[in-house]
């Protein structure tokens, strides 16, 4: 093979590999990406049953129901709409009523969100960014109250 042929071969091979990778990436981005939705989004847009989404919001006060053993029921709200959530498993340590969380899963036929993952991250003053922004946009973000509770938890004792 001449020098030119070798170089062409190498470029061709690189093009082939990169081309396939681009194909895979595009297919991946179109098929296996999950969209973030607030309870209002779900109420308005009628999310398809079974479609994988992330639901974010605050855990509604007095909505936590642990009476069914390992299946836990609660409601996630953005102060405008609330969506019932069912989750089988151990809730994160920082899961509390009034806390911002993200649940990943899908809606079932009865309008219940079946979560397979619940995230309430590693810090008590943590608020998932998406949740915070949505709440803020909708004007439901209670600066003073949240600030006060954060203050309380870091108070020197």
């Amino acid at each position: 093979m001449t020098r030119k042929q070798k170089r062409l071969g190498l470029i061709g091979l690189a093009g082939l590999v990169l081309g396939s990778a681009v194909g895979l990436v595009l297919y991946g981005l179109s098929s296996s990406v999950t969209y973030f939705q607030s309870p209002s989004d779900i109420a308005e847009q009628q999310v398809e049953v079974g479609q994988r989404i992330r639901l974010g919001g605050l855990v509604e006060d007095d909505s936590l129901d642990k009476s069914r053993g390992s299946v836990i029921l609660f409601r996630v709200t953005d102060q405008a709409e609330a969506i019932p959530v069912s989750y089988k498993g151990i809730l994160p340590d920082l899961f509390r009523e009034g806390q911002g969380i993200i649940a990943e899963g899908h809606m079932d036929e009865k309008g219940v969100f079946i979560a397979d993952t619940v995230l309430a991250k590693h810090d008590e003053s943590y608020m998932p960014k998406e949740v915070y922004e949505t709440l803020k946009e909708d004007g439901h973000w209670m600066e003073e109250e949240q600030a006060a509770s954060a203050e309380q938890s870091t108070k020197v004792n």
Partner: protein, 671 residues
């Protein structure tokens, strides 16, 4: 006083960095020996000054000096000693200071250990390292100063995030940082080569030990982070394709490619421009990782504080260094003498393939990590790109890597014989197939899917194909055991490092495939005396009690794990509440059987005395980390060999004597 001394030392270090950024490089370009001679002394001085600063901060933590904002926010006088020390870097300011400390440590190491490399290259390299040091020292002093005081000083600190109070945290960041930051010196070498316009095989020989050290620590750091997440977070997952994990994984991928392309450059004086590009790229990805992790763009356990000013500062550093190094590359690279081309079927040809696939895989991870950020910035849509995307894209790209790896190992330099190698690997292929069928039979034929079987085959092929080099070289089945052993003893270290590195990757893949395909999970509410059965194990919930730790209270639940009627483990997962913050925290309990693990985590108790119990069965999961340890060990052995070669170029004849095993099997490179 001590604090102010540390602060002062840090500012002095910045001044030293400024001097080091300018004069040695100036001297290298103009062949001024006095200016070039300054570089090593400055690098060592900067390291000592940064040490003083770091020691001052550590002193504040050890003595619980809460007049420092940083200690007040992140420490507590009740904290055990080890977490007082690790707390120094368990926060934004301290961790950036550690970053800088390691950065200047590498500069000092180059100054001390690279006496044999030409003065111009050394001065220019330390100068380029000075630019990085200057940028980050400035960042520490201006935007994340750990020495800020508060007045009046509080009596007690607010405590370290309980999640970070773990031995894993004490060692994970320093090790990962050594890997991350170590690539800065590789970057500096590349920048120096571009400035001086001189790039030859000797350059690759000088830079390889630094690539290896960084790569070894990055590998260990990623593996340790993965194990930490596995046992600490209580979800039983070992890799989440979380952006923060990807941030460390991307430089690992290009770093691995760099490790291989530097071999080609050293042996064959080819792929030179590409190797320099990879060096710049790897460090750019390290900086990108630092930006993603520390800027607060992503919310995670690693993002300590969300402060836009800091994010912008790191972004500016990132843009300056990426933009600057690419400009330098575009300007100077065409002036470098191109290396020769070579036959596609050859060792170097296979290493080019390795580079092609690894960088493509890195690009896929890059897109998946940054796409959500970009999309949100432009359209406002919030999406998450998770494991399904990465499994779909990264997985297939790595398949050819695993298939071709054993071939590359056996191909000769210059002109290889693919068909001949295939014939030589037939036995390894047969053994791999037998092992695959054995494992399928062991795991249960009916439960093994085709994909899993292929995964097993691929992993065993990578393992046995890599090990085959030993059989080949020792002629184990041809010349008798004793003589083969004598040959094995005479192997050059590079043989072992390749075999261990490649077989280690195969073992990691085997662990991944087995865990993904056969792990199982059980979540039940259990009351004292309740028993459940899963995977041949019997689990009985015995009792629970409360006890006090040094700075927390915990509720421990005790379970008895039985197999075939025999007690094989007493499991005691717990839930802790930390005194300082009141923050709850689960501690898992893990029992290891061979390479497999049973994993316990507990949740809340219900009104009737029941407790939510989560039990995972993870077959062969420890292989994932054992494989990475083997890869690192391979890297260490290569380093040991390289030590003989670091320094001034040795004549080909002399070098042949040093690396006998390699020289006999592979033609000595014409240099």
């Amino acid at each position: 006083m001590i604090i102010e001394l540390g602060h002062y030392a840090l500012i002095l270090a910045l001044v030293v960095a400024a001097v080091q950024s300018v004069f040695p490089v100036w001297g290298a370009v103009n062949s001024d020996h006095r200016l070039m001679g300054m570089a090593p002394g400055l690098a060592v001085l900067m390291f000592l000054l940064t040490c003083v600063a770091f020691a001052a901060l550590t002193w504040a933590y050890l003595n619980s000096d809460f007049s420092l904002l940083n200690t007040y926010q992140n420490s507590h006088s009740d904290k055990p000693l080890v977490y007082k020390i690790s707390g120094v870097w368990g926060n934004h300011e301290g961790s950036i200071l550690l970053w800088v400390l390691i950065l200047v440590l590498f500069g000092a190491l180059v100054a001390v250990f690279s006496r044999n490399i030409p003065q111009r290259l050394r001065a220019a390299t330390l100068g380029a390292q000075g630019w990085v040091s200057f940028a980050f020292l400035l960042f520490v002093i201006v935007a994340s100063n750990p020495f800020t005081r508060i007045s009046p000083a509080p009596l007690q600190g607010s405590g370290l995030n309980p999640m970070l109070q773990d031995v894993g945290l004490a060692i994970h960041p320093p090790i990962l940082y050594i890997g991350y930051v170590g690539f800065s010196i590789v970057f500096a070498f590349a920048a120096a080569a571009l400035i001086l316009g001189k790039l030859d095989a000797a350059w690759a020989r000088w830079v390889r030990p630094w690539i290896l050290v960084s790569w070894i620590f990055l590998t260990l750091g990623i593996a340790m982070g993965s194990y930490w997440a596995y046992y600490e977070l209580g979800w039983g997952g070992w890799w989440f394709w979380d952006p923060v994990e990807n941030a460390s994984f991307m430089p690992w991928l290009t770093g691995t490619a760099l490790l291989h392309s530097a071999i080609v450059m050293e042996r064959r004086d080819a792929l030179k421009v590409w190797t320099v590009f990879l060096a710049l790229l790897t460090f750019s990805l390290s900086l990108l990782g630092t930006f993603l992790v520390r800027s607060g763009v992503l919310t995670s356990v690693h993002a300590f504080a969300v402060d836009p000013a800091r994010g912008l500062f790191i972004l500016a550093i990132l843009l300056i260094f990426v933009g600057g190094s690419l400009t330098l590359f575009a300007w100077r690279a065409p002036l470098l003498r191109q290396g020769g081309l070579f036959a596609p079927i050859s060792r170097e040809g296979s290493l080019v393939l390795n580079n092609l696939f690894l960088t493509t895989a890195c690009a896929a991870v890059f897109v998946g990590t940054l796409y959500p950020l970009v999309l949100e910035a432009f359209s406002g849509d919030k999406i998450s790109v998770g494991a399904p995307f990465f499994n779909l894209t990264f997985g297939p790209i790595m398949v050819p890597v695993l298939i071709l790896m054993p071939f590359g190992q056996l191909l000769a330099w210059k002109r290889g014989d693919a068909w001949g190698v295939a014939q030589r690997l037939t036995s390894a292929f047969v053994i791999a197939m037998l092992a695959t069928f054995g494992l399928i039979w062991f795991m249960g034929v009916s439960t093994t899917s085709i994909m899993t079987a292929l995964g097993f085959g691929l992993a065993f092929w990578a393992i046995f194909g890599s090990l085959w080099e030993i059989v080949e070289r020792s002629q184990l089945f041809k010349i008798g055991f004793g003589r083969s052993m004598a040959r094995i003893k005479g192997f050059a270290p590079t043989v072992w490092s390749t075999v261990l590195g490649h077989a280690g990757l195969g073992i990691t893949v085997l662990g991944i495939v087995t865990t993904m395909a056969f792990e199982s999970e059980r979540v039940e509410v259990m009351r004292p005396g309740d028993t459940l059965e899963q995977n041949g194990y019997n689990v009985t919930y015995e009792k629970s009690w409360t006890q006090n730790g040094p700075n927390y209270q915990e509720m421990v639940s005790q379970y008895t794990l039985r197999k075939g009627g025999n007690v094989v483990g007493i499991m005691e997962p717990s839930k802790r509440a930390y005194n300082a913050s009141g923050m709850p925290m689960s501690e898992t309990s893990i029992a290891t059987f061979g390479f497999s693990q049973v994993y316990f985590a507990t949740g809340d108790s219900d009104a009737n005395g029941g407790i939510v119990t989560r039990i995972y069965f993870k077959p062969l999961i420890t292989l994932i980390w054992i494989g990475t340890l083997l890869m690192s060990l391979g890297g260490c052995i290569a380093l040991f060999d390289r030590r003989l070669r670091v320094g001034a170029p040795v004549s080909a004849r002399k070098r042949k004597g040093v690396a006998g095993g390699v020289a006999t099997a592979t033609p000595t490179p014409a240099e």
